[in-house]
Subunit: 222 residues, 4 copies
Amino acid sequence: MADLFDRLKAECAADWHAYTDHAFVRGLADGSLPEAAFRHYLTQDYLFLIHFARAFALAGYKAKTLDDIKRAKEGISAIVDVELSLHLSYCEKWGIGPADLTDLPEAVENMAYTRYVLERGMAGDLLDLHIALAPCMLGYGEIGKRLAADPATRRVGNPYLEWIEMYAGEECQNACAEEREYIASLADGIGEARFNELSRCFRDATRLEIGFWQMGLDAVRT
Amino acid sequence: MADLFDRLKAECAADWHAYTDHAFVRGLADGSLPEAAFRHYLTQDYLFLIHFARAFALAGYKAKTLDDIKRAKEGISAIVDVELSLHLSYCEKWGIGPADLTDLPEAVENMAYTRYVLERGMAGDLLDLHIALAPCMLGYGEIGKRLAADPATRRVGNPYLEWIEMYAGEECQNACAEEREYIASLADGIGEARFNELSRCFRDATRLEIGFWQMGLDAVRT
Amino acid sequence: MADLFDRLKAECAADWHAYTDHAFVRGLADGSLPEAAFRHYLTQDYLFLIHFARAFALAGYKAKTLDDIKRAKEGISAIVDVELSLHLSYCEKWGIGPADLTDLPEAVENMAYTRYVLERGMAGDLLDLHIALAPCMLGYGEIGKRLAADPATRRVGNPYLEWIEMYAGEECQNACAEEREYIASLADGIGEARFNELSRCFRDATRLEIGFWQMGLDAVRT
Amino acid sequence: MADLFDRLKAECAADWHAYTDHAFVRGLADGSLPEAAFRHYLTQDYLFLIHFARAFALAGYKAKTLDDIKRAKEGISAIVDVELSLHLSYCEKWGIGPADLTDLPEAVENMAYTRYVLERGMAGDLLDLHIALAPCMLGYGEIGKRLAADPATRRVGNPYLEWIEMYAGEECQNACAEEREYIASLADGIGEARFNELSRCFRDATRLEIGFWQMGLDAVRT
């Protein structure tokens, strides 16, 4: 039987496709994405990660078991101890220094998704929170894996290959597999009404992720 | 000395102007706004009001005094007992029936502002929440008053005159005056660091209001 | 089949009995409760009501539907527009003036229950919140009804008869019946794991209500 | 000038004394505390720590800066990666096995303090949360240090000496000093009204700590 994540994707198949096959993503795959679009995305992603660390902290508050708290701590730690530093070094390769990230104004699309996740997680419970996070966590893993496996993906001279390989990499894929299982376990035994709530949340969050890619493209449209 | 609201506006003068003098607003003033843009705005505004009622409920939770609770209740009541019905009848004049409002997908710009307000109010305190609401509550009052007083505003045959007069009306203006005073009282004695936090929140909320007007225009751009 | 409330009571039958048949309650029934105990209870109940108004406000924030918001507003309104005034006049009959209620230190047992409700409601969802409130709302109704129907309850010269009749009265009983149905509707379709969570919450809240009665008795023990 | 913690203690000097010089504490100092009282305290303290980890997670959600998030993560980690294991081994020395800690019913006094902290931290901001935690974090450090320095404290054959030395130890004292400084920095520039709010919170939390000691003693009173 389809697991929860598969069911959620199936319920919003068009939105999920629009997200995972967005022009921004296709531009990463063939290397045609304007660098300014990627830079804008990268700098906003830094702010995004800070709110995602807050979202994992919220998961710790919402925890029902000691194991939930430990997972939440791992989530915060993965961001503040690892990802943010990686992000900073990666940004430097793209000519973005720490000074460019300090007091950076948050893009509306960034506020939209991060606040949606935090608010949904607060109003709902631990499962709602993880469902709101899922398009990001599981979606990036899916995108990375697909692009890395796709023979059409440009390897030589693609400035975005490193990005693709990071999300296609074992560490990220393992984290996704674990998150997917965790979500399924939190949702164990839910009825149809509850599934519909979660489905709506997943679709909304997916739409907000589409907005996040579009933000990158729009930065170079003017 | 300038009161808190004046100081907040002065700190983000360009954004405040971009919001209160947005092309959507100018289109209301001279009647040139495409009706489809207004309809899109109206239907989203219905969903917006529901989250605003939740924001007033949050103010009741965040209350420090019995008076704070009573004000929060008045805020919820104003929306669910009065404004939503007015909105429904107003929508009907524009050919939008209840069926058009049920299960309406929330626009990203709508999610962006409403969730920002709710999340800021939850993470911060009662004052943060009211500052996040201020561009909406006090901004609409300011826009209505200005357009109603402006001789250039088209009166004859302007389909949006009723909208302008609602926000320019005594009831709305009194509510604004009271809210302004309430915010000032909540902020009594704050230092510079706190003002800067509030100022950032006010600017962000103002930018999200700009997005809300733009959403109306974008609906007819394609 | 037993409705949710009956199932919840059955799961913690001993605690429920210890609460609804507490020595404080028996003292109300036969009029033997020391007046100082009742006075202490009454003054703390005033503070309790304020936090209960906040709990209904929280229910408004946690609302999933417009109807949920309206109910939350009714709950706040019932307290701040009606019950608090009734409470104040009732307190006056017992020689407790407004000055005795201002800046009254909160008893630990009072903090314990009110904060538990608010925290549970925040960490959980709307249903958790209502379950945490249920021992109070539905328990008082049950106690009032039973004492009013019990021939052993002292009528003549019982200073607590008015209290009993208030909770046995139609208005209170109708509110209880409605709340009971609302809770059942929110819980529609839940599985066993979810019921066990709710059951634990209900038992904890019941134990905290026992503490609230005991607080009244302890006030005169020294 | 007195730092914030000193001012807060001075404002509720009698309560602070009743907490830090509680009969339970004196029983730790001279070794006269009944072992059953200590065992009850220890088992409840295990549940307490789990909610304290949630409180640090809440601090991560309430964070205003990346540094705030990192500190919150350290707080969670200190509990779930270190203190809980120490607690488990310490419990074993006292004949309390993991089975005794599983599904242990929470004492009312335990619920009272933990939920107060979580609720205050949610309704207020990051500073309110840390002030609600302060009687625990800074109070235990103060008690440990005083008892360790007091020549009257029984060393030989005192079964509680290890407990005293843990809180008097360098690691704990350093953590306290750092927390004290952090709180002072969060409170930088606050006015009198805000101080009074914090003072009330600190006093309430101190009273709830008194209740926690008393819970230990009451466990053997019957």
